[in-house]
């Protein structure tokens, strides 16, 4: 007998896995560094938060879910910051962005 709690947690966890797999496909597929940052910065953060929320739902209210909540807060602050640091240092080192027009010439 599967409880309702486990079904909701499973939904959260597997939708998070879907976002993360899409993010990794995007990193492999997109043409240059600046466009690769988009899936890595957005879909990745969303997937991690969904998975950890699913674990909180599975666990209920306890010391473990407080720890998971700390990890979520940390990821929300850190992931955009790391993305921003990466893009900024690439921009300062003079990396030119890819555009659609160059490909057609």
């Amino acid at each position: 007998m599967i409880e309702l709690k486990e079904i909701i947690a499973g939904l959260f966890i597997f939708s998070g896995c879907f976002f993360i797999i899409v993010a990794s496909i995007g990193i492999v597929r997109f043409p240059d560094f600046y466009t690769r940052v988009h899936p890595a910065g957005k879909a990745d953060t969303m997937g991690q938060i969904l998975i950890l929320t699913g674990l909180i739902v599975y666990e209920g209210l306890s010391l473990i879910s407080i720890k998971l909540f700390f990890i979520i807060c940390f990821i929300l602050i850190v992931n955009p910051t790391a993305t921003h640091a990466l893009v900024k240092s690439a921009y300062l080192s003079g990396l030119k962005p890819w555009t659609r027009k160059k490909e057609n010439d």
Partner: protein, 84 residues
């Protein structure tokens, strides 16, 4: 449930290893390594639930901290040439 999610996450990490090996610029490699590091946090948390040993969460929290510091330290080293 947790084991299937673990397998999916490991699969996505292997997809990104392709980018880390092939990436034309060094930033592509750092992006891929940062991605794999954040996946490692989630994998550690899921392992803790799968084997019912919640102490793995402490390792996950610590790994999240270290992964961020490693990325920033690498970028700073590349921008300025020193870590001080």
């Amino acid at each position: 449930m947790f084991d299937t999610a673990l397998l999916l996450l490991i699969l996505s990490s292997f997809l990104v290893i392709y980018r880390a090996l092939k990436g034309p610029r060094v930033f592509d490699r750092v992006l891929a390594i940062n991605f794999i590091g954040t996946k490692a946090v989630i994998i550690l948390a899921l392992i803790g639930f799968s084997y019912e040993r919640p102490h793995f969460l402490d390792i996950a929290l610590l790994y999240a901290l270290i992964n961020f510091v490693a990325t920033i330290a690498f970028l700073k080293y590349r921008a300025t040439g020193k870590l001080g």
